[in-house]
Amino acid sequence: MPEAPWPQRLLRYALIALACVWSAVPILLVILSSFKQPKAIFEFPPSLFFTPTFDNYVRLWTVWPGFFSNLSSSFIVTCGATLLTVIVSSMAGYVYARYSSRLLTASAFFMVVVRMLPPIIITLPLFPVVNYLRLSDTHILLILLYATFFVSLSTWIMRAFIKQIPFELEEAAIIDGASLRQRLILVVLPVAAQGIAAAAIFVLVFSWNEYIFALIFTTRNAKTAPVVIGEMLGTAEGVEWGVLFAAASIQLLPILVFVVLVQRLLIAGLTAGSVKG
């Protein structure tokens, strides 16, 4: 395309820069402020250059010693939910990509419909059942719930990726006498690795950050990091901003780095999962 005249180009750059400020500056403020002395946190204008202190992190360690076990809870739940989602939706995605029957189509349509239901309503009937089964406050419950809400999207993504793999690859394996399982594990999945990664991102980010199920279904053992950050914000004695920022920074940095690294797959997954229906 021919270059636009310079005033137009300048305007475009300025607007893009503005959008970057809008999305990145609040995050930057949290991270920077976590290294500031409490009395410097509300300075105006906020200083960019200052002597960093780790006091807030030390205080987080002493005042909220449980936070680190909450982080490990988040980690366990995230890994579990991601693994479960990837395994079950790879299998289902393969079948939906390669075979068709009325029953399969009906079940695929069912998958799309349940995606429309608001998750919060299932807390009502699950609450007594979960208590009865002694599943309340366990990692396994959160893993099952998080996986459930993403198997549909992930299956859809896997189906789209597997559809692009030529069936001839599998035929060669069939001639060599490979079983369905061998074909799937040795032939299809290695080629669909990108699809698996794309399908994993969404459930991974969701599980690491989820708030409302964790708020309702965990009390102590399985409590995740976002719930505790919420508690820090809601303390009656006034919010300790420095400590809060330290906790928020620890929680957000790994996942932020991850999302930035996988951005291409994120776009591919979104396209495969939602746009193509």
């Binding site: 990145a24 995050i27 509300f42 239901l117 299932i122």
Partner: protein, 289 residues
């Protein structure tokens, strides 16, 4: 590729079992619960539609309903306009594009809880930088902790900030699939920027735009944390949205019947919005079957 065998159904089964056990059956159970009076340590008593009558007679419910209506529309259309604009801006060549996109999608990685944390920090009474700056300019401050509509406005801004990456990415992915020749041809034929947008880009992006719109309508209706952690629904339950109303009925007042009736209404509302999309998908799927 052969006929569908039992093994294939077996491979689909885990996904379907999860959906049935944790979404479908509980959703039906919600209907049953909504027709009963039920709280802790009490056997549910069948009351017919009394719970529905009770919540539709409750002014707090209707306030929550209209609050949700307002926020959802602000969020969805705000995002759509900003997301489309941003996708258009980003569609040409740009130095360091990969890094710019990384900055733009960063909010997607942030938990809703931290989103509330950062915006509350900027909006703290008197000392938060936005209120401090507004005060300094003599404009007074945003009193979201005491004004219903300011609180809802702030919650909407939070939700837009959080979800703009989704809308942006969907539209951006769609715009980048438009062949450059098509846009060039329009210009050679003397199309203005506006008519290029209106007659070339918009029609081609429309399917993606409708899907983004629908998904955001359905997910925006679930809005909970932004209000819950910002105002708790207060002052005096003025700023509750449907999800917060449901949560309060269930977990503060232990009235599971009323909460279920609210939940079932949210579900019907979601499905009603989704009908055109579901209809379309249904036709497409069964045409190929």
């Amino acid at each position: 590729m052969g006929a569908v065998r039992l093994a294939h159904y077996g491979m689909v089964a885990p996904v379907q079992v999860l959906l049935l056990a944790f979404i479908f059956v509980p959703s039906l159970y919600v209907v049953w619960l909504s027709l009963h009076q039920s709280t802790y340590g009490q056997i549910p008593v069948f009351v017919g539609f009394e719970n529905y009558a009770a919540i539709t007679a409750d002014p707090v419910f209707w306030r929550a309903f209209w609050n949700t209506f307002l926020v959802v529309n602000l969020v969805v259309y705000g995002e759509l306009i900003l997301g489309f604009g941003l996708a258009m801006l980003m569609s040409g060549p740009l130095p360091g594009k990969r890094y710019v996109i990384a900055l733009l999608i960063a909010p997607y990685a942030i938990t809703e809880v931290t989103t509330v944390v950062m915006w509350r920090y900027m909006l703290e009474p008197d000392v938060g930088m936005i209120n401090y700056a507004l005060n300094g300019l003599g404009l007074g401050q945003l009193a979201w902790w005491q004004s219903r509509f300011q609180a809802l406005g702030v919650a909407s801004v939070l939700a837009i900030w959080q979800h703009l990456p989704f809308t942006f990415l969907v539209l951006y992915a769609s715009i980048t699939t438009i062949p450059t020749e098509l846009r060039e041809a329009a210009r050679v034929d003397g199309a203005t920027v506006w008519s290029e947008f209106r007659f070339v880009i918009l029609p081609l992006v429309m399917p993606a735009l409708l899907i983004a719109l629908l998904f955001r309508y359905i997910t925006a209706m679930r809005l909970f944390s932004e209000i819950w952690l910002l105002t708790g629904g207060g002052p005096a339950r003025l700023t509750e949205v449907l999800a917060v109303y449901l949560y309060r009925q269930a977990f503060s007042y232990h009235d599971f019947g009323a909460a279920s009736a609210t939940g079932w209404m949210m579900l019907l509302l979601s499905l009603t919005i989704a009908i055109p999309y579901l209809w379309h998908i249904h036709r497409q799927m069964f045409k190929n079957a």
